[in-house]
Amino acid sequence: MDDVSIVQLFWNRSEKAISEVAKKYGRFCMTIARNILGNPEDSEECVNDAYLSLWNTIPPKKPSVLPPFLGRITRNLALNLYKKNHAEKRGGGEFPLVLEELSEVIAGSDSADSDLYKKEIMRVVSAFLAELTPEKRKLFVRRFWYADSVKNIAHQMKMTENNVSVTLNRLRTQLREKLQEGGLVS
């Protein structure tokens, strides 16, 4: 079923909407959740919450393309659960490595975290992404949006793991330099 029809089911408040979303994007959501949370039980809980959230969001929203919309909901929920689990010292997997890599990028950032500051960071990140070749951008997004493993990225993009790691390292350095140029990190 296409996305528009699925969204229409949500608007019609048809329970079939959830099953259609699960059928089409269940694995997609599960992968995002599992990349962040690391364990299947939490991931499943997160994905179910994502469906519920989708049910509560549509209507009034009417996304024309579901994957980024649903993916973002799943990612946010997974991240919240990760924070909770992390406080309780649970979890593990690939995600801590992703976070460690991101630490390098924002080391020396402002701890005040004003909205303006965050907006400026996102502006630099967006400009940085826009300048990248599609291949490098995909690599960056897979790692730092989808929290995908180096191994899986290498497999999907037909690269060696070493090549992926080296490219990601360069991209992080480039992004850090951009943030430094903008005076956003020291």
């Binding site: 995002i32 393309v65 924002i106 967006s126 997004v141």
Partner: protein
């Protein structure tokens, strides 16, 4: 700001990049083989809103809003008078799915994984379907002229001098899968439609079991891009191709447009990476070309 907050913030990157990265656990299950052998409508057309019109007088008509242009399927050549109101296109009155017409895939196409694409390993062209000729297309157009005219007008494109191009073209295509050949559906042929000298849309004929169906495509940015490009290349032999669901139009000087999507740069980088300096020559296949006549 800590790393978790930064990761959280990165969640706000543009949707386009999320789609481009194409991460999906389902992507390995993409029905590439099916697409390669499919006789269905071209995948370059992505349904955004679909609906089905009342079926009247033996006519099965399906309308879609596809990337800004209207698309109507007509099954078989007909002379009946069909009235279509754009508002009806938004709210379906008959619950018949497009799948049942066998004319359109309805899934949302996953983003292309450019890094994994391969150029066909040889220049052999695999042909599909029974050929349709310019004469057959012309006869069908003339027979249904009034209906086609009325449909176009109903879709908001008033025309007083409707003309169909003398010659049509198909699309040479490939899916980028290792080991595959170039493909050409010789039973599908698209003809540009003009109001006088102004490009307003196209009509695509498909021949199956000696029966000719056609699809009307009207309005939208596709034809704006195409019109500008064709005007720039008057008298030249323009090549039409599909890479998966992306339509690529190439002029002999190597100029490229992707009139339905914003993939032009990706396409050019892909060709460059594959060592194709002259894509027009590399992919040239005469039935997939169209010469613009002023």
């Amino acid at each position: 700001m800590n790393n978790l907050e930064f990761f959280d913030m990165l969640g706000d990157i543009d949707d386009m990049y999320i789609l481009e990265a194409g991460y999906s656990s389902d992507e390995d299950e993409r029905p590439v083989a099916k697409a390669a052998s499919s006789e269905s409508a071209p995948r370059r057309i992505r349904p955004i809103v679909k609906t089905v019109l009342p079926i009247a007088a033996g006519i099965a008509a399906v309308a879609l809003i596809t990337f800004g242009f209207w698309k109507i399927f007509i099954s078989g050549s007909q002379k009946a008078n069909v009235s279509i109101q754009p508002s009806e296109l938004i709210e379906p009155t008959v619950a018949v799915t497009i799948e049942e017409t066998g004319k359109e895939e309805t899934s949302t196409y996953p983003p292309i994984l450019w890094a994994a694409l391969q150029i066909p390993s040889n220049r052999e062209v695999v042909l599909f379907g029974e050929p349709i000729s310019d004469e057959e297309a012309k006869a069908c157009f003339e027979e249904d002229f009034q209906l086609i005219h009325d449909l176009i007008v109903e879709l908001g494109r008033y025309t007083t001098d409707l003309r169909m191009a003398e010659h049509g073209y198909g699309h040479i295509s490939f899916d980028g899968v290792e080991g595959e050949s170039l493909m050409y559906k010789q039973n599908v042929r698209e003809y540009l439609l003009y109001d006088g000298t102004v490009l307003i849309g196209s009509i695509e004929f498909t021949k199956t079991n000696r029966k000719v169906d056609y699809v009307l495509l009207v309005g939208g940015t596709r034809f704006d891009y195409l019109d500008s490009f064709l005007k720039l290349h008057e008298g030249e032999q323009i090549l039409f191709m599909n890479l998966q669901d992306i339509e690529i139009v190439i002029a002999p000087d190597g100029s490229i447009i992707t009139p339905c999507t914003s993939d032009r740069d990706n396409v050019m980088q892909f060709f460059e990476k594959q060592g194709i300096e002259d894509p027009w020559t590399y992919f040239f296949y005469e039935p997939a070309t169209y010469i613009v006549v002023s």
